[in-house]
Amino acid sequence: MAHLAPGTPGGSDERVLVYDRISSNKRQTWLMMLIFIVVAGGFASLVGYIVGLPVAAAPIVFAALIGYAMFSYYASAGVALAVSSAREVSKQDEPDFYRVVENLAIGSGLPMPKVYVIEDSAPNAFATGRDPQHAAVTATRGLLNKLDRAELEGVIAHEMSHVGNYDIRVMTITVVLVGVIALLADLFMRWTWFGSGSREGNKDRGGSAYAILLVVAILLAILAPLVAQLIQLAVSRQREYLADASGALLCRNPGALADALEKITADPEPLKEANKATAHLYFSNPLREHDSFLNNLFSTHPPVEERIKLLRAM
């Protein structure tokens, strides 16, 4: 810890680092939107071509996607909160949790974010928003019940670091842009399997439609790893390590943050409202079936043991 304390000349370097992170995150958000428009637009145009739509449809597709990307820039935080069933709370509702957030906002010099609670007994937390002025910090009921105050401060300090360096912008927009591709891929795959099993009767019409669906399914299968790669880009493990380090610096208690991680990992309950699109937002990976191929592909969090080890060494 000693080498991280702002009492040393390293303090000013730390601030410079934060400014670097902010501009890098803003760049990444633009990149994410661009990649999304090109990939999704290209894919949709290709499908349209196969289906036999006129070429003139392509510009409309791209315009719609650009509109969707712009919409997601402003609305993605609301979407992320809604799909997680988070409810906004006031200081009267949750005085202790609210005060912890207030204190850490003061300590990091950030405006007070909105405070949300998810009624789920699995302990976890996330932060979202497009910038610190429009940020929201969310904790599950399980987190508030199972952690003591110092541990809660550690977790919220980690989340406030995500807020301060604009991690939340990239992470949240990923939910809406890339998450929707993952979701569509999932949906399409299932639809294709379902469709192939039935309707043996109308073969001539069903045959060509089936061929199209097969092509789409194959394209999606190619696309899926790319999507996973995009999520990796947004939620590099580096980002979590960095939030751990600056969170520890903020709450002055890396041990409590490590304790919180241990408690959360040891908790056997899975988070009900988490899915592949929102998993990377959370403090600790909410998806429990760790060993499946898909989860390794989508693995967004560094191994907990490694995070705890680093925090204990501070």
Partner: protein, 198 residues
Amino acid sequence: MPLLIILIVAVLVVLVVAIVVMYNGLVRSRLRVREAWSGIDVQLKRRASLIPNIVETVKGYAAHERQTLEAVTEARARLQQAGTPAQAAEANNQLTQTLRSLFAVAEQYPDLKANQNFLDLQRELADTEDKIAYARQFYNTNVLSYNAKIETFPSVIMANMFGFQPSEFFEAEEQAREDVKVSFSAPPAPPPPPAANG
């Protein structure tokens, strides 16, 4: 000949740009310090505004503890008169100490300890103390970065030219510092002897 003029002009332009950038950097840093200070100031004012209430409440149950109560009121007045961060820090630390003895005294009055109003105020004060600690942390980080800037080359030249003064830190009270030391597992070692052959 025109090459020389271009060279001189280029050097001048670079110099002016460097000066503007450095000056703006210093101003921005100083502004951050002032903003961070107002963060502490808000909490100090809130703390001071809670004191009359708590003094009144305690008076209702323990009027004869006049000395303790007066010490708190006095410390509050000093906090409100403080002009510089260092004075405010000193007055605030004094207020913390007098409040500590006030709450120690309150321990002897079961009725007072059961008073809801007293409990609420006590919690509010504890919360304010936490917030002052966090605001201090943010303020001192900013002061450190600003002071480092005006004391290091090349911005030190600008700082001297335009009269940028170093800012004061908001110091934690001695007690708090000792508390931090206790949390380390190693026993408090005597300070290392100065290097003899330095």
